[in-house]
């Protein structure tokens, strides 16, 4: 009885504190105060969209499109790698994109990585080996910030997992440098919205003003396989490549999943039948 009485008093006490000191002032502020408003840039924000035809790796039976991954790699090499690293990916991993061991060795040699001069022990640059990881274009974050108007270009290894709906996000962002809708812009400017000098408008970016200038232009690279290098094409290719860098085991994971689930369905079916058999006669008949 004492515990119940104490409980009732404590319960009413907590509720009174919550209602009188938190809820009531909150309601008063809500009614009398200015209505809460989202920041002006919210008017522009867009949800990630998928490229035309979608990604080959999407869905439970998705597969890599190796030609697309190789195209995406050339976009990374010729455009992104000027500012962005790929530190969790090694050159040897490129074999998974369908290159042969010799091709990977030759490809790695076209990159320079920091090394040590074997004669003097001094820091130097040497051609990369397949066992090396992709180098960071900047020696350190200070250099990266100094070269980029104080915005450090992030490493891209995990980018598609580090954003919501990441593959579509990268595609939409790279393909998304557009002029703001004039009507929305006029309304937002009244609330103080602007795109400061040195930033670029992109409705798919977190606060729609992005430090990275547009990178992809019609024909800015030439694909080995002759695919026309349109902006949506390059955007989709780099998004596919970065999906692979973020999770090289993506397809293996889904394929393994089918085997595991098929086995479990079978085993659970057996378990169900033995359960029913063992319980036969113990359960009442339904009336």
């Amino acid at each position: 009885m004492t515990i119940r009485l104490a409980g009732i008093i404590a319960g009413l006490g907590i509720t009174a504190v919550l209602v009188l000191w938190s809820l009531v002032p909150g309601v008063i502020a809500l009614v009398t105060g200015p209505p809460a408003e989202k920041p002006a840039y919210y008017a522009f924000k867009e949800k990630p969209v998928e490229p035309e035809g979608g990604f080959s790796f999407a869905g439970p039976v998705g597969k890599w499109d190796y030609a697309q991954l190789q195209r995406g790699y050339s976009v990374y090499k010729q455009v992104c790698s000027a500012c962005h690293g790929l530190k969790y990916v090694a050159f040897r991993n490129l074999e998974e994109l369908g290159y042969s061991e010799e091709q990977v060795r030759a490809e790695a040699a076209t990159w320079n990585v920091p090394g040590i001069d074997p004669d003097t022990g001094e820091a130097t640059m040497r051609p990369a080996l397949p066992t090396d990881y992709f180098p960071n274009p900047y020696p350190n974050n200070v250099a990266a910030a100094a070269a980029n108007n104080n915005a450090i270009p992030p490493d891209l290894s995990l980018m598609t997992k580090a954003r919501k709906d990441g593959s579509n996000y990268v595609y939409s962002l790279m393909n998304g440098y557009v002029d703001p809708d004039p009507e929305k812009l006029a309304a937002a400017q009244e609330k103080g919205f602007e795109t400061p000098m040195g930033l670029y408008f992109n409705p798919w970016f977190e606060n729609v003003n992005l430090a990275m200038p547009p990178q992809l232009y019609e024909g800015s690279i030439t694909y080995d396989d002759g695919t026309e290098a349109s902006v949506p094409q390059m955007s989709a290719d780099i998004a596919a490549f970065l999906t692979w860098t973020a999770e090289p085991t993506l397809i293996k994971r889904k394929q393994t999943g089918w085997f595991v689930i098929a086995f479990l369905l079978f085993a659970t079916g057996l378990a169900y039948m033995s359960y029913k058999q063992i319980w036969a006669g113990q359960k009442p008949k339904k009336k």
């Binding site: 509720t15 290894s157 580090a162 994971r253 595991v260 113990q282």
Partner: protein, 433 residues
């Protein structure tokens, strides 16, 4: 420790007789989860979750020990080390996804297990000790899960650790030095990561120890059951093996299908993308949210937005942050008092019309709304909703339960489990051969 009609272990061969004399471990297993443990014959599927929780604990320990072989608890390398597991360790991606989703599924199972206990009042005498130990296990699980989430050293790891350890700073007078001592610095750092790794490895074994006590305490009165009528005679029970081993085997299969579906097809669905960004003490994420299983408690923490002041004087008695911390810990501590708050002699919610209404239309929606509010940004209407439902949460356990158990007229109970199952309390018909 058991019912008079429980079958006794009878070693057959010379070897098992020899073992039984020296170390009667087979006898212990036989009496605990074998044919020697008579269990009410009317358990429904809600009684599967105890065994499943035990399975989850083993799963987490096995995957966790393997992950620990490849991990390094140093802030310089921890994030990269996790990527090493994902990319270079054979089947490392599967181990890590199984461990991360295993934590979520452990909590799903535990929440269902707790809701079973709440609905069927499994906490009532003579099973108070089982319930109390269960709440201890739940608290240990929360600590373990929280520290485990810090180990990948992503953005949410770091900022989550900062927010949660910051709660200790709300304690008057000793709060700040206590927080610095617990964290090993002013913000999460290498010392923090090392001690969290050490404790994250240790606590599961502490949990395993309390689980043994939990099961030991269970075997004294035996399992509760959906009618809430205690076992009276042999026809009320069936031996655990083969009846419930078979049923649990089927339950485990269903669980594994759901679990592996998440591991292999949606492994990051329950996680947060920000945790794939390495921890950066200089960049605060837009919304710091804990893992989904902490969201109701996080909502309770944030519901207290105003300091407790003496009106018109401006004297602050208790700061809002401390109120939130007290309420958050209090929201679980009230569970310790449940066996004495709810004095209704009837256990099962089936036979308690008023209790049932408050359970389904009060407590369950409250937990759902609080989960949503905990994951939402601190803006209206979520703040208001979390305040209303936090109030209901405490009223439910502390005010409604004691009063309902006093004034409620329960429905008539069946005479026995046998009657509840078979419609009449006669010996069940002979089994067909």
């Amino acid at each position: 420790m058991s019912f008079a009609w429980a079958k006794q272990y009878e070693p057959q061969s010379g070897f098992t007789k020899w073992i039984d004399e020296k170390l009667p471990l087979p006898r212990l297993v036989y009496n605990a989860i074998g044919a020697g443990y008579p269990v009410p014959r009317n358990l429904n599927y809600m009684w599967n979750f105890g065994v499943l929780a035990g399975f989850c604990l083993v799963l987490q320990i096995v995957t966790g020990v393997i992950l620990a072989m490849h991990y390094a608890s140093n802030t310089e390398v921890a994030f990269g080390q996790v990527e090493h597991i994902m990319r270079n360790v054979n089947w490392g991606w599967m181990m890590r996804y199984a461990h991360a989703n295993g934590a979520s599924f452990f909590f799903i199972v535990i929440y269902l297990h707790i809701f079973r206990g709440l609905y069927y009042s499994s906490y009532k005498a003579p099973r108070e000790m089982i319930w109390l130990l269960g709440v201890v296990i739940f608290l240990l699980m929360m600590a373990t899960a929280f520290m485990g989430y810090v180990l990948p050293w992503g953005q949410m790891s770091f900022w989550g650790a900062k927010v949660i350890t910051g709660l200790f700073g709300a304690i008057p007078f000793v709060g700040e030095p206590l927080q610095v001592w617990l964290v090993g610095g002013y913000a999460p750092n290498d010392s923090t990561l090392n001690r969290f790794f050490s404790l994250h490895f240790l606590l599961p074994f502490v949990i395993a120890g309390v689980v043994i006590l939990h099961i030991w305490a269970l075997h004294i009165p035996g399992s509760s059951n959906p009618t809430g009528v205690e076992v009276k005679k042999e026809s009320d029970t069936v031996p655990f093996h083969p009846y419930y081993t078979a049923k649990d085997g089927f339950g485990l299969g269903v669980f594994l299908i759901a679990f592996t579906f998440m591991v292999f097809f949606l492994p990051n669905f329950l996680g947060h993308p920000d945790n794939y960004i390495e921890a950066n003490p200089l960049s605060t994420p837009a919304h710091i949210v804990p893992e989904w299983y902490f969201l109701p408690f996080y909502a309770i923490l944030r519901a207290f937005t105003g300091d407790l002041t003496i009106p018109f004087t401006g004297i602050v008695l208790i700061q809002a942050k401390l109120l939130g911390v007290i309420a958050m810990f209090g929201s679980i501590l009230v569970w310790f008092f449940l066996p004495w708050l709810d004095k209704s002699p009837v256990r099962s919610g089936h036979y308690r019309p008023m209790f049932k209404k408050f359970f389904w239309f009060g407590l369950i929606p409250t937990m759902i709304v609080l989960t949503i509010c905990g994951g939402a940004p601190a803006e209206e209407p979520y703040v208001l909703l979390s305040q209303i439902f936090t109030a209901y949460y405490f009223l439910h356990f502390l005010v409604i339960l004691p009063i309902v158990s006093q004034i409620e007229v329960p429905k008539p109970l069946p005479f026995s489990i046998t009657e509840a199952v078979l419609g009449s309390d006669k010996e069940p018909a002979a089994q067909p051969a």
